[in-house]
Structure formats: C-alpha cells, structure tokens
Amino acid sequence: MKEELISGKITRREFAQRLIALGIIGSSAGTLLTWADKAHAAKRGGRLRAGIAHGSTTDTLDPATYENGYMSKINYAIQNHLGEVDHTGNMFPELAESWDPQNGAKTWVFNLRRGVEFHNGKTLDSDDVIASFQHHMGETKSPAKSLLKQVSSIRKDGKYKVVFELTGGNADFPFVASDYHIAIKASKDGKINPTDGIGTGAYVLKEMEMGVRFFGTRNPNYFKPDRGWFNELEMLSIVDPTARSNALTTGEVDVIDRVDLKTAHLLARKSGIKVEETTGTKHYTFPMRTDTPPFDDNNVRMALKHAVNRDEIVEKVLFGHGVVGNDHPIAPSNPFHAATLPQRTYDPDKARFYAKKAGGSIKVQLSAADAAFPGAVDAAVLYKEHAAVAGIDIEVIREPSDGYWSNVWMKKPWGACYWGGRPTEDWMFSTAYMGGASWNDTFWKHDRFDKLLIQARAETDQNKRREMYYEMQQIVRDEGGVVVPMFANYVFGTTDKIEHGTLAGNWDLDGDKFHERWWYS
C-alpha cells in the first residue's frame, strides 16, 4: 500500500483512510505518511557537503554535551531518538513504533520498532533505550537532566517495550523523551559508550575532527526505507559568515545554514543558489528580573512592553526575516499558539499612561551583547529610541560577549536573551516561566499560571488544553517579565540541485535533519 502511495496511485487521504480501516493506530499511520511525503520524487546518490555556522574544537560526541548546531546536526545524522518532529510540528514515533499513555498520562508505554540495527550490528532493544536515558539521569552534567526529573522509574517489559513512570501526568511526554540530547545508543552491560559515535542513524561516522569536519557514509541498513538519500555526507564547521557564503558561491559546499541576513538578498540573486527560510520557535527576548526594582512593578513592565516598535526591529535587525512577537514565548508554529490574542503594538501613549501609574518617570538600564543574539545591541539601541518618544529613559549597556551567559544573563536586572524555543507549550513554560524553574530568567512567579501549567500538562482533552494554554499566554503577555519583540526565521542557502519536501521549522535546516530528508534532483 505504501508503494501505491509513493507511486502516486492513491492519495494521502485515501492512504490514511485505508490505514485506519486496516486498524493501524493513528500514530504509526502518521509515521508512514510523513516518511512517504514527496518521497516518490526523491533520488539516491551524491555527496552532500554542508557548511555549518557552529562547531568548536572543544565539542565532543557525548550526547550529554551537545550544545551547538553543528553537534545537533551530527547527532541527527548518526543517531535517532524515540520520536521525531515533522514539518507540521507534531511528534511522530521514530525508534519507537507507537506509544501509549496510561493512568492519566502518568505511565507511558513505548513500543520499540523491531529489527533496527546499530552501526556496529547490534539490534535495538529495551536495554539500549534504558541505558541511553540513564546517561542523562542521576549524577550527570547533561542538560536533559532537569527534563527527566519527572521520570520516577524506567523499566523494560520484554525486549521491545519500555515503561516510564512519571511523578505527575504529562500529556507531552513523547516530546520530552525525544529531546535531542537523548540519542538512543547501543548499550553493553547496561551502559552506553557516549563517545563512540555509533547510533542507528542514516549515516555511519567515518571521520571526525572536532571543529573542522565530519564525514559519514550512508547506512546501508537504515530502517527508514525512504530517508537518507545521499551516499556520503560531509559537514564542515565554517563559523565566519563571509567564509560560509564564499564556500557556497564558489561551490565548495552545497548547503549553508545561518545566511548573513545583511547580504541574504544578494546571495539569493546569484544564479544557481536558493535562499530559503522557515519560521520556527526561535525567539529573541528582553527578560526583566521581576524580583528587582523597578521591574517588580507590573506597570513598569507594561510601560516598557508598549514602548518598543517591533516592526522596526524585525525590519532593521532581522532584515525582515522574522515575525513580531507578542510578549509570550509561544510561536505561531506551536500547536496551541493563541492566534486570537490581540497583537501588542507600539503605543507611546499607553507607555506613558503605565509610566505615570508606576509613579512618573522611568529610567532603566538594558544590558546587551551580540552573544545574546546577533544584532542584540542594535535592537537595544532601537528600543532606547522608541522608548524615548514615550519619555522613558533606557540606558543601553554594551556587555562583553565573552562570558555573557555566566555574568550578565539572569544577573543584570534587564538584559537580552535568545531561546531556540521548544516544540510544546508545556516544555517552554516549564523551562523558563514556571515559578522556581532553573532558567526562569525573569524570576517570575504567578500562582494562577503555575496551577494552569500543572493542570494542562496532565490534561488529555485537547480543547481544554487549548483553553488553558491560551489563558497562560495571555497571563505572560500582560503580567510576565519578558518582552518578546520577535521570532527569528532560520535562513539558509542551498544550490538549486537540492530538493526537499515541506520544511520543518523546529530547528535550522529542516529540523536539523536535512541530511536524511533532502536529495539531489
């Protein structure tokens, strides 16, 4: 039947109906569908060479240390996860075949795909999954540790079934379990070797020099029959934006990420090169510490939220490659984005009104460095000009980029920050907005918000969840400590020989899975 779909004999809708008729449960039908998407056009072959804006000599293959886009792309090339986000922003089983919430989403049963082989020939089973999770739990430096705090136990139920017990219900647990850090690796005696580079992924690691070059060849036993089209994959770390554009225009590489926004329009004019972009969850923020005067007064926060011209910042800092934000972190691509919530606009009169309520003139300092996001200092200066119209005095402090995250972010009362964003509302809110969360960079605590967050997490009725998340977005927008002026697009360039299906926006370059999803025409 899948062949029929691929060869175009039946439509996607018919395909889905027949699957349901056959009694195949929704989730795995979805998987078959996404993988089949546009696959009829794809061709095998060639070497894909990519120039990636990240990468450092200090990187390692240990999944617990992945911290940049270069390692993330290697991660997705050589390893797989329990689930995978597709172009609609939904989660589909990847190494799992299906999952099943029980007991009010407190117990999650993951059925594993059978016959999946690691690059070293081992067959995937429950032990590998458990060992891979345990690498991020207990005494570990893994950033996924805080995510997995909600897991009270993992046990296996046969060779191909893993059961997670959570401390509280979480309807979004498959998203958490598929966090990019938690790559599933081959285990031996209950332990994984984190740096062996062996996974189940579409490409087998052949050569790796950190901060310079990755080289891999197609995994002949890859379990997705219609993914991983290139015979060879080479990824170079090209941190300098000009060098990256040069590499693409001179044909040294076929794909680059993070096109320099200033010159993106010039690059797009060049023949043989395509510049494409996706709007994902990446957003740039100005978090205020709500535990520090004057930001502990919501009137001050509201005054500042009304005192910024978002359109101009998107136009001048992102060169139009983005969309305006609405002072909450939920992106238009998130499933429960509150589209009906009125967009906050630049309104000096309202800003003045709130400033008056706060007791007259507002004079604050805004710390920024380009480490926070490219153009952060420019954005801060624009903000200062906009606020001056409303009689608000912002002093922009240019901080050193080096050490920004340890010395400025969450230390200074008001600064600049970026978030790659999270695929689910719960995850984003729990990470940075729940009272007491370790990355709550506004030090904000709101009882109603926290209560809704816990409720919505365990709620399985989608409509009720939607209502709760709408209310939470409104609370953050009107009472939170964060100014979210914009969501930034992922902008990348390819040669015109590259083809792909509908692009995913959860990460750069088609969800960082460009190497397994794209092909040469």
Binding site: E67, T195, E209, L236, C417
Partner: protein, 318 residues
C-alpha cells in the same frame, strides 16, 4: 665555535625561563577571565547542579595553583596532558593542527622570503627609479590593509570572479601534496602580501646603508658591476638586520595567522587556540601558547646565531 655554543646554551636556558614565566602568565590570565570550562560549555543551560558535576569530573574544583603545578610536572616529563573539553590527548589534538599551520607558514615563507629578498635587492640596485617606487607603493599598500581585507579581495577575484581557486581551504589528511598546495595557495598569497613589505624594505634599507661605505666606493672604483657589488660585497654584510626581520616575520607566519585561518576555514593552530580560550580549556591554551612561544624563541635564537656567524667581529670578540 665554543663561543657560539656557549651563547646558544645561554639563550636556550633563558628561553626555558621565558617559557616558564609565559606559562605562569597564561594560566593566571585565563584564570582571570570570567567563567570556566564547565560554565562556558554548558552556556545558557548551566545550572548550579550540572556545573558542579561537570567541574568535579574535570578536576576544576581543585585550586588553580595546584592545577598549574600538576600541569608543570606533566610538561617536565613531556606529557602535555588531555584536553578538558573532549579528553583527547593534547599532543594528538595539537599534532595535526601544528602540521597544518607549519605547512601553511612554510608555504607562505617559501614564496615570501625569496620574493622579498629579490624585490629588496632590485630596489636597492635601481634605487629611486620608477620600479623602486612602484614596488614600495605596492608592498606598503598591501601591508597597510588588514589581513582579512586582503584575503577577501583575493577571494573575490580569484575564487568568485575567475573561479581559479577554491574559496575555502578545505584540506584533509588524505589530500595529495599538489592538491594541498593548490587549496592553500590563496591563504599563502594573503600571508605573502602581508609580510613581504617588511622584509623587502629592510633588505633595501640595509643594502643602501652599506652602499655609502668606503669599501663599496672602492669596489665601484675598481670597476665591478653593480650587481656583483650588491650580491658579493654589500649583501653579506647586510645579512644581520635582514635575518632578524625575516625571523620576526617567519614567527608571525606561524603565530599570527589566526585571521587568515578563519577567513579560509583552514584548520590550523590559531583556530584551536581561539576555541580553547573562549571555552577556557586551560591545558590546550597552555600547550598552544608554549608552542607559539617556543617558535618565537627558537626563531630569534637562530636569527642571533646567524647574525653572529655572518659577522666576524661578533664571531671572534676580543
């Protein structure tokens, strides 16, 4: 001869002392920078708990002077230690990079030094001619532009407009020598343009300086051809200052190329050093600095020795 050996031994001892002082400066310099490896690797995702575990794993919870002494003890036995970030042997990590850097530096030097000497000698020979002016203007212009600008100009013309050379120098170990030379020609040319002026001007000045001396006058009166006067009579006596300048520039070709490495994405030692400083990977920073410092010291030492050998007055002091 014994005299020279004594000087060399003295210089080496002094050099080792210098290295020790440098290593102290580097360690405590890096220590003064805000944050440490655990914090910078975890970045935005650093929480007190993960940082604590990471630090304990790296041994960063020990005080800085103990870590320094550990490192010094290792270094004395020739063990550079392992990188904090990825646990790789530093000797292995640095080895490939150093080979790349020396290859590029050597390639650039092989073009730049003969070229500079030739241009300088010719400029001295045809002093104040149109050629002299032209060479001066050209080399001074190229040294006055920042390296990255020279690099981008070369890329613009030779990689993008004419398409003769690749825009980035993607070299891997399995590349044949010819391919490697081809792929590194643009960065080598950039470095050449940057260093030639200094050496060329010094050659010219040193020779012209000597041309005013009585013994050259004598040679000229004997009717010797100008070329011979310069090559046989002036150049040997002018070598000392020239060699010094060449040594400085060679050192620069090894230690100062980080910008060129970034522009051409060339995997050299400079790139490694920058990465390691920004991540506070102290042992790697130490190792790279020691290599850079040794290169400087050794090149200066050889420059001194050569100037002594070429100058009989220094070779046989009374």
């Amino acid at each position: 001869m014994i005299h020279i050996l004594k000087i060399v031994a003295q210089r080496i001892a002094l050099g080792l002392l210098t290295l020790l002082v440098i290593s102290l400066f580097i360690t405590f310099g890096v220590e003064l920078l805000p944050g440490d490896l655990a914090e910078s690797i975890l970045g935005q995702s650093a929480t007190p708990e993960t940082v604590r575990v990471f630090r304990a794993e790296l041994g960063l919870d020990k005080p800085a002077h103990l870590r320094y002494l550990d490192w010094l003890a290792g270094m004395a036995t020739g063990d550079m230690g392992v990188s904090l970030a990825n646990k790789r042997e530093i000797s292995e990590l640095v080895g490939i990079r150093l080979a790349n850097t020396l290859f590029l530096g050597g390639f650039a030097a092989a073009i730049a030094v003969p070229l500079a000497l030739l241009l300088g000698i010719l400029a001295a020979l045809y002093r104040n001619s149109f050629y002299d002016r032209a060479v001066n203007v050209f080399t001074l212009t190229s040294i006055s532009f920042p390296e990255f600008f020279v690099a981008y100009i070369l890329i613009l013309f030779f990689a993008i407009k004419f398409g003769w050379f690749p825009g980035i120098s993607n070299v891997s170990t399995e590349l044949a020598l010819g391919d490697k030379l081809y792929r590194t020609l643009l960065p080598a040319a950039t470095l050449t343009l940057v260093v030639v002026a200094h050496m060329m001007r010094m050659t010219r000045a040193a020779i012209i300086n000597l041309l005013a001396s009585p013994y050259i006058e004598m040679a000229r009166l004997k009717g010797i051809r100008p070329t011979r006067i310069i090559l046989r009579h002036a150049l040997p006596n002018a070598l000392a200052p020239i060699v010094n300048v060449i040594a400085l520039n060679l050192a620069y070709l090894v230690v100062g190329v980080v910008i060129v490495e970034v522009v051409f994405v060339y995997p050299g030692l400079g790139q490694l050093l920058v990465d390691s400083v920004s991540k506070r990977d102290v042992p790697v920073v130490q190792a790279c600095s020691m290599i850079f410092a040794s290169v400087y010291i050794l090149l200066n030492l050889s420059a001194d020795v050569i100037s002594i050998i070429t100058n009989p007055r220094l070779l046989h002091p009374r």
